[in-house]
Symmetry: C2
Subunit: 253 residues, 2 copies
């Protein structure tokens, strides 16, 4: 009998969120599952790490083939803590989510969930992030669960190519199927609201509006809007290789 795979789970909504509980339920029959997730919501924390102050780790549950911890830190802190101090080795797989909120297009760069996935990928672990495109923390995840199971089984059976992770997003409501595509080109315009004045300091609350600049049917934003799940293979290398030659001509000395 082959050994059960070691599966690590994290998220950015915190260890008590609905999304992570449902992900745990799906993955527990597939291997030994260890969860280290933030003690509270850490959305929008991106790839930030905690430097200059310590991290507090609490054991929530310890059973045969299932352990759950909460960490007073960011999602990337959770990955690093798990790999070094909880698992004492790199896991076979990292799954993050199910995130309450969209991580299509430029959202992936702000996301703590996808940062955890990128961190796993950078350390050589087959890593997948799942997100429901619904900011409501009680959004209905029932339609996406069969697809989470299908993708997780596929990844556990066949792993992933080196240096590639998956960003999986689900539309709200019924899902027609799965389409692989690319990160849609788009951006958030800012719209701060000023709330009060204090000690000569102006006080603002961040707001904004997303603008999709990508008309391709293969862009994840558009895949979602056609009611398919969007799967985007991602890499941790941000180099714009197509521009290296032109930039060499401009700057090499």
């Amino acid at each position: 009998m082959t050994q059960k795979p070691l599966i690590f789970i994290t998220n950015d909504d915190g260890y008590l969120s609905n999304g992570i509980k449902l992900l745990e339920d799906i993955l527990r029959p597939m291997g030994k599952v260890v969860v280290v997730a933030p003690s509270k919501e850490m959305s929008g924390q991106s790839h930030s790490i905690t430097v200059g102050k310590p991290l507090k780790l609490s054991c929530i549950k310890k059973e045969d083939n299932f352990e759950e911890y909460s960490l007073e830190g960011t999602p990337v802190d959770c990955v690093k803590m798990a790999f070094d101090k909880v698992l004492n080795r790199k896991p076979d797989f990292l799954f993050a989510g199910i995130n309450h909120g969209s991580n299509v297009s430029i959202n992936t760069i702000y996301s703590g969930t996808m940062a955890a996935v990128m961190e796993g990928c950078s350390e050589g672990v087959a890593s997948v992030g799942f997100s429901l495109c619904d900011d409501d923390k009680h959004g209905d995840l029932s339609f996406c669960l069969p697809f989470v199971k299908q993708i997780a089984e596929n990844v556990i059976k066949h792993s992933l190519p080196t240096d590639v992770c998956l960003n999986v997003n689900f539309p709200v409501g019924e899902i027609k199927g799965i389409k692989v595509g690319h990160q849609a080109k788009g951006y958030w315009s800012e719209d701060f609201t000023m709330s009060e004045q204090e000690d000569g300091k102006r006080i603002f609350w961040l707001g904004g509006e997303y603008h999709c600049l990508d008309k391709s049917e293969q862009a994840d934003w558009n895949i979602i809007h056609n009611n398919y799940a969007a799967v985007v293979p991602m890499q941790v290398d941000f180099t714009a290789y197509k521009l290296i030659k032109e930039m060499k001509e401009r700057f090499d000395s």
Copy 2:
């Protein structure tokens, strides 16, 4: 006479750091300069944004063609605040740094300075980040200043291709010239130290060691170690395009 370009400056070391003061000195003769930088150090904050709490903005200095503000927020908050509320329009150029610490290889993903650059790029602004590969906040920046000036002049004269920003890193000490290259493949292994126990919670301090996995002479890590400045063109699109076909065969349904 053509109008002076509007140049925006930020960083992640805070508005009082040596690096940003020297960058201001270099750029002020080149246009109208507006600085919005964090009120305190924000290293390792990556692309995080402040949600659920307000941002406080303070005006430090306002002169002809030069304004300086500090913001109690992250580097990406600074970019968003500047574009929406301080400049009231997108600037012509964004320069970040000079960062005290390396942003080569995987470091770019943790960096608040490079996150500000990526944010500017995502919003269509020609954006460049400068970093000295020396964690000492009082590290000697004198060798890199002529190269900062040269690259800034080049970018202000010729701008940058759409959707591309530059990550510029300088070695410590004398610099032989500039080489354009790619983000070195590498990762940080974790090495937490446990300091004390409190309320049943274990307390850890993050530490780690960088491992370069890239032997290419064109990798930024190796360019720096050959005493050249490394310029890497970067994009905000993380899609691993080479893998789309293979992933479509596996997952499309």
